[in-house]
Symmetry: C2
Subunit: 88 residues, 2 copies
């Protein structure tokens, strides 16, 4: 794994409570992050950090993130490959 | 499938260009919707519709959606089960 992915894996431990250890969360109002596009993830974290996108917890969580943290978290979650099962 | 899921599947054809036919998109700045929690999906579509959450295309797309459309789209995408592969 790349250093960014590994750094992201470490950093993501603080996200696991809502988003799950591998990015599949259990909270009904928290999105699954596993496999999301890296660019999308980084853009959302920056929007939460700046407040352009508003969410009580996420604005607080993102406030503490540096650009490196954001890049690492995006790399980590994007590295988790997901598959969708066709509907039955 | 429930009527809401079927209605959502139909309605989602207009979303497939960015979000993919089964909710796994190809656009780097568009999230995968497959398997996302129903409550989260509905809340985001309403935020895009009201403008609380800002995105050029999504604010336009969501403007045309009724509450029933939103419930159906959320039910459809949430019905698509996803699995994550543990990191190699």
């Amino acid at each position: 794994q790349s250093p960014a992915v590994e750094a992201g894996r470490q950093k993501a431990q603080m996200c696991a409570a809502c988003h799950g250890p591998l990015g599949l969360g259990s909270a009904p109002d928290a999105p699954h992050l596993a496999g999301q596009p890296e660019i999308y993830l980084a853009a959302q974290l920056k929007a939460f950090r700046s407040g352009v996108r508003r969410h009580e917890q996420m604005n607080v969580m993102a406030k503490a993130l540096s650009d490196e943290d954001i890049a690492a978290l995006a790399a980590w979650y994007a590295s988790l490959k997901i598959e969708v099962q066709p509907p039955r």
